[in-house]
């Protein structure tokens, strides 16, 4: 375990020294600034018009979903990009030869990096999603219900994508890995829409195709389930990124957890066999 933590510390140190942390936090802060300014004017308008409580709540719920949608996307992007060259880059530069010639299992290298990126992604998610919720509380006095489950599902999506990116880096070059990782996200996005459109139009074929795509890449299903968990009483959002006409099941969540575990296992296995 000590060697895993040493690799994790090294990964942290590298991220800090390469100014990755300030760059990522800067982008997140910019998003929160824009979000806060927009919310301030919306809240002021609703107050000025003396809008009814239910109307204000509905508006704030939609704004919450919009903010968390962006926070979710940014966290997934960070979770994919942080580890995208950590294995492939160190293999191609020769750095990995020096590390892997030490008395540690290659799995310890992968797990150390995974832990470090997990912690970094968690911190970033806490900053962006937490920032959205804090701005809502301070600016509009709005508290979104059912957040623990929803946030857990969103973060599971980020861990899943991070594990895919790490696994890809054990086999592919950095550029190929980035392309594959974002393709996974794109496929999930399209699959989610096909599934929702199939459900709305009662097209079983389209719905089944969408479900199969979601099984191949379940990250969009996690977001849609999180959105439904956050706003159970909100109607009319089924045909939007903030809702679901066909709510992803608990089985899909279990599948996503298993998918993440398999991706991590594949990362370990691929790196174990990789000539350095």
């Amino acid at each position: 375990m000590r060697r895993i933590l040493t690799i994790a510390q090294l990964t942290f140190l590298e991220a800090r020294r390469r100014k990755i942390v300030p760059a990522v936090l800067g982008c997140g802060a910019l998003f929160l600034l824009v979000y806060g300014v927009a919310l301030h004017f919306v809240a002021a308008k609703l107050l000025e018009e003396n809008a009814p409580f239910l109307q204000r709540t509905a508006v704030y719920q939609i704004i919450t979903l919009a903010g968390l949608y962006v926070a979710n996307f940014l966290t997934i992007a960070v979770a994919v990009l942080l580890p995208v060259d950590t294995l492939s880059g160190e293999i191609s530069s020769g750095v990995m030869q020096t590390v892997a010639s030490k008395p540690l299992h290659r799995a310890e290298i992968v797990l150390g990096k995974w832990l470090a990126f997990l912690a970094m992604s968690a911190a970033y998610f806490a900053f962006t999603a937490g920032g959205v919720l804090l701005i809502l509380r301070v600016t509009a006095d709005h508290v979104q219900p059912h957040m623990p489950v929803a946030l857990s599902l969103m973060f599971l999506g980020a861990i899943l994508m991070m594990s895919i990116s790490l696994a890809g880096g054990a086999r592919l070059s950095t550029v190929s890995n980035a392309i594959v990782a974002f393709a996974f996200y794109g496929i999930a996005f399209i699959g989610g829409w096909i599934e929702q459109i199939g459900t709305m139009t009662a097209s079983h074929s389209a719905r089944n195709i969408g479900t199969v795509i979601s099984l191949v890449s379940p990250v969009d299903s996690l977001w849609r389930r999180a959105a439904v968990e956050m706003s159970p009483g909100l109607t009319g959002l089924q045909f939007s990124p903030f809702g679901a006409s066909n709510v992803p099941s608990n089985a899909m969540i279990v599948w996503a957890v298993a998918f993440t575990a398999v991706a991590l296992a594949l990362a370990v296995q691929a790196f174990r066999r990789r000539p350095l």
């Binding site: 090294l10 010639s101 030490k102």
Partner: protein, 306 residues
Amino acid sequence: MPEPVIETRSLRKAFGSNVAVGDLSLSVGRGEVFGFLGPNGAGKTTSLKLLLGLIEPTAGSGTVLGARLGERRARERVGFLPEHFRFHDCLTGRELLRVHGRLFGLRGAALETRIDRLLARVDLTDAADRQIKTYSKGMMQRAGLAQALINEPHVVFLDEPTSGLDPLGRVLVRSVIDELRERGTTVFLNSHLLGEVEATCDRVVFFKRGRVVGELALDAASPVLEIELKVDPADSGVLEGLAAFGAKAPEAHDGAVRMQLANEQVVPDIARWLVGRGVAIYELKSRRKSLEEWFIEVMGEDQRPG
């Protein structure tokens, strides 16, 4: 030979149809400074990677310090300086050694003391807290050498350790290798600088197209002494008589006779024999055959620059 610490039997590595190492069978003893020589593309670096478990062999087997190749145990008392040493260059020299020490399970004051000692040994104390990306090539190489010694290894693999070093840096590396020899550490040296190898190694093997094609002990008793004679007459009777003293039959070219000797003790005997036979000696020069000459001879005429 002393107790072997590196042993390989018919080790082979192929990447698809490309055979990088065809047959690596060798034995290196404890405390030996061993040179692994070959032209570019011979498979030397691939062989090193096999010994360190960085790649898996296609066939064959081997042990390092009694543990099978690739086993974690085999790497516990091993140090490695790769060719073109690279590390996370955002770290300082001290942090680099600390990280590598921790990967060996070292901690605390003992590790810090060792780091200070090694930084001083490779003359990097002044630059210890600067990021490695600000180092010169030679400084990086010396930092790499220090990381290869952080665990006080029993076997050190050095892949081109003096590449990129100025003459002072080379002297430093040579003195470190001498210290390792005195401590009984085995050094496996891969270098193109044959002068360096000749000055430091006890024994070398020649590696060509993935196979060991020759071996040479570099101690005083090794048959590397050559003499050149200018005598009159240099007829067949004299040549036959001289053959009795040589490791190989003498050859006459351009009025000079050249021959290899098993040791330098026979030089006076040759002079006495020639004088006793009434042969006039105009010149008698002895010299050691350089490792470069051996290298070219062993590699053969078909070898082209890599």
